[in-house]
Symmetry: C3
Subunit: 442 residues, 3 copies
């Protein structure tokens, strides 16, 4: 399998940014038409299936909630001027607000207003999913201009009714039924890094994988956060054991360093693959331990599933001030950062695809490399580029107990060097893939 | 179980110092009436049983020795003046000296005199348990004043005869038969840190535990060093498998930092509990590895028993000059140090009591914390104080394979935070105690 | 077993250097009379068996090559003067060159000449074992003096014909059939460190071991590099499982620090023995990890054998400029370095011989050391020198699961201290050798 993307990374970064720009205006929430509209656009990129799960469906300890749809919302002053206007930014309405149509004094209204006082230009993002309520979010500067004496007309023209939870699923079959799970959430309105960046990355990873031979089956989930992964896990409980590797994509477009958060297992193959790829990347990428907080890895790594699913991000969500504010906008995510995240994730998937375990067919003493064109002084291109050492490492450790990643780690060499050496040896029939991986022996 | 001592630590420190002061004048040895008198005083504090084991009893490779009792001892000069007088300090006589009544020149006498030349004011403490002998200890300054020409009258009015070895045992039953062993030695005469401090700490831990609900049965041993623990182990060999945790208390009243010496196993639950409590204490406490020297942990950790028994102390015995001299007196131990040792040991016992293993009753995905009053923005006191993270850690790792201490270590949070979170979750029936601990799974 | 060499190390170093000097002039290669002559000399030291394996014999993936013998070789200028003369240095001829008798211009000749331009005084060492070819090696300065216009007369009076591969083997039986393999290569012509130093070290270790009681059987191999170890492994495949420890000796005479390269297993007993001995030696000895390159450990550690065989050397072969040049001469190896290598290797062998596992015969509580003359204040020489602690460590850990090396490592004490303590305890019947080693329990 060769995992060369169809376009060079920088072009892909621009394409991803363009997709984000197209999705940015839509008012998404955990349910409702914003999610449907979003998935509809994504279907123009990858042929994903759209699933609808009825409100009230029991999913483990949770219940699929009502569907929320909003047409308009505003606060008008006495002059009938919209001093808060949903049409200007969908962040102005607390997500999942119940319908309201009422006049009230500022004092009463203020209980329903949210600002970020130390970032007076920014509108915060608020939700009220599991407690019926309503509210507006606005810039603190804007709030300062409200006059105390005025009565305000408050309108949230929304519906909160039985309907469905909507999510998208795209399955790209491989030569085996073993799966790689790639999950992102689609429940945020006009916020770019959290999490349109993850959506765009998932779409472009799917497109890149489409044209390639795949050992693994890839399952892409575009789901509302928390309730979406819980719903999917509940409906697909029997299928879960097929998942061999997985990654949650979240916040992958900001300018910070790439961060990988390990799965609960801590030393799963996907954890080691990310650590290896990041070790050999040219920047300050970071690997952090699992903790039971963050994105949907919380559900995938709950003790009843304990899946080998990590989380790829750049700056962790609680470590940048733009998080969950209007400042997480189209300028906050860059083509370069998106392309870099794409490149690293695709390199990891490529490593997992190619991380086979071989058996040395000549395990007693070294084979003669010279007569196979693999001897340093007399050999061909591969041996001239690599030297003998990677070949000798692969031969020495291909005892059925070491995958190529195991060998790369012990040899302290990049995976692609070890992989190239293995291919050269396989061509000479000096090694062949083991039917049982290393785990079978451990 | 709530392990709040009846008094605040500083008051307990003063009480412990007072008990030490009451025991200080008694001339103890490995056998004899000094031990009986000491145990009699302790019975005024805790209702301990007194055991008598006859001289000559075979205990593993050893034999219970003769009983030693002393009435008086002195060295008189030609004028009949007592130049060494047992009545002034019981350290003046080498412990276990055979009876003597004799006149002799200074040259001959000197073979039986012991001093500490580089600490000329201090009287050393000497014993001669396993070789019949006699001797006197005195300050080096005092020896300098002895006149060479004089004949001296030497008297040790002691008996060394078949009798008994005496020890005290106090068993405080818990709801299970699993035991915590707390052992201290009672064989030293007028020495405070070594080891009246350990005796006082054992007594006050016993008093504190009396009024509390206990999972474990606590067994307190007040025994002569070495021969006492060997005798007890020999007589109680069948009972030993009940001991789940244990600690030897020795030298816990000096001003040095608290030191915990690990059991032979090195990673027993008691070892990890001490390490955890000391990590979160506010000073320079030290954890050191096991070595087969020191106090009665030598016997408890002999390979035929290999019990999980460590040793709690402050400055290790061979690292302070006052050790085994008259300078280990009532001024050398302080109420504050005693109270601090008490507090740390009781915190460890409390941790062991509460270190349960739970099973998440909702292991597939996270449960809804909000509807149980445990969601950050809407929850009650516990969640406001702790935040969600400790709850999520407990839920995530309560798979039957992790005790609360395991969880605290992985979460890098204090045990009491994890314990509080577990209690809140248990009240909501989200977790319940596992009948099998984590060790059953490992 | 007492492993005291018959001579003091410095004398042994001089003897080893003398042996090297005697072997230095001989023109060795992987086959031929040079090897036979060398082994003949070694038979004057140890009664080794000489084996002849016919050319064409299949040995795993390899074939025993033709036998190479050379009588003379030169390049003459027009005046008939030998401008390159094999009689001056056997390095002048590329080892295994096919016969040549020809006149040619300098341009053509140059394709067959090898120099080291940045070391213009040195003659390089070149081989052409597995591709029929011929060539001359010379100092770069010498080449500069060749006149372009001259026709040169080239002669290599050699034979390359079916014959035999020759190697030497010396087996020194012990009380058990478990073997220690000591291997060195004998295929290099006038080069001293690589590898006459290894040959001399093997010979003198063999001589030292002859006069001693041995638990292990020692097998010394004097073989051509690569093809020799492959041939031996192929012919002795069934015997290989007897090898419990092994070491390849290579480059042990230069002035650099002693280096031990671990076996593929990484934590084999021989690896730990070398690490322990070097830790307590007085210089900057180095232990490095296994890598599948270097000397015959490549074959012994191939995955089909995975023998616990490391490599003892001083400066690793690719880290000194003299390597494979005429500068690796009699001045490059010193008696002191040879003696130091001898001393360290013999200490390691001694450790392996004495690394027994004992069972404490008194495992419940400590035994009384006093009544056996092992108590500090009353005991004999051993206890006065060692103190009690080594005795207590041996007693505490002699549970059948710890060898003496395990105990030394945990006690952080030198092996000989632990060994002395064990001997004292064994004399008192307090411990006895375990029939099963620690590995049986792990």
């Amino acid at each position: 399998m060769k995992l060369i993307p169809e376009k060079e990374p920088s072009a892909i970064g621009r394409d991803m940014h363009q997709l984000i720009a197209g999705l940015y205006p839509i008012c998404r929430s955990i349910t409702g038409n914003g999610v449907r509209e979003t998935l509809g656009i994504l279907q123009g990129y990858v042929p994903l299936d759209i699933h609808e799960v009825a409100s009230g469906t029991e999913v483990f300890d949770w219940t699929v909630p009502k569907e929320w749809n909003i047409r308009d919302a505003y606060v008008k002053n006495r002059q009938g001027v919209r001093v808060i206007d949903f049409r200007k930014s969908n962040l102005h309405v607390v997500s999942y607000s119940r319908p309201v149509q009422q006049k009230m004094a500022l004092a009463e209204l203020k209980d329903h207003l949210f600002t970020v006082p130390d970032r007076p230009e920014w509108i915060p993002y608020q939700t009220s999913y599991y407690k019926e309520s309503w509210g507006f979010c606005l810039a603190h500067n804007q709030l300062q201009q409200f006059a105390a004496e005025e009565p305000y007309e408050v309108c949230i023209d929304a519906t909160l009714e039985d309907g469905h939870l909507t999510y998208g699923e795209y399955c790209l079959p491989g030569t085996t039924e073993e799966e790689v799970l790639i999950s992102c959430h689609i429940c945020h309105p006009s916020l770019c890094n959290d999490n349109l960046s993850g959506v765009a990355l998932a779409v472009y990873l799917a497109k890149a994988l489409q044209s390639l031979t795949r050992r693994y089956t890839y399952r892409f989930l575009f789901i509302p956060g928390t309730i979406g992964s819980i719903t999917w896990l509940c409906l697909n409980e029997r299928r879960v054991s097929r998942i061999k590797h997985g990654v949650v994509l979240a916040g992958v477009g900001d300018a910070g360093n790439f961060t990988y958060k390990r799965s609960r297992r801590g030393h799963a193959e996907v954890d080691r693959a990310f650590a290896h790829v990041l070790k050999y990347s040219d920047d300050k990428s970071v690997v952090i331990d699992f903790f039971p907080y963050g994105y949907d890895e919380r559900q995938y790594c709950s003790p009843g599933f304990d899946l080998p699913v990590g989380c790829a991000m750049r700056t962790p969500f609680n470590q940048y001030p733009e998080y969950h504010t209007s400042a997480d906008n189209l300028d906050f995510v860059s083509s370069d950062a998106l392309a870099d995240s794409f490149d690293k994730c695709l390199t990891v998937l490529s490593l997992l695809e190619k991380n086979e375990t071989y058996l040395n067919q000549n395990p007693k003493c070294e084979p003669r490399l010279g007569k196979r064109g693999l001897y340093q002084s007399t050999g061909g291109k591969v041996i001239r580029e690599l030297g003998e050492l990677p070949l000798l490492w692969v031969l020495n450790l291909s005892d059925g107990g070491h995958s190529l990643l195991d060998i790369a780690e012990r040899a302290d060499l990049p995976f692609h060097t070890i992989r190239t050496a293995a291919s050269a040896l396989e061509e000479c029939f000096l090694i062949r893939p083991s039917l049982l991986g290393p785990s079978a022996l451990q």
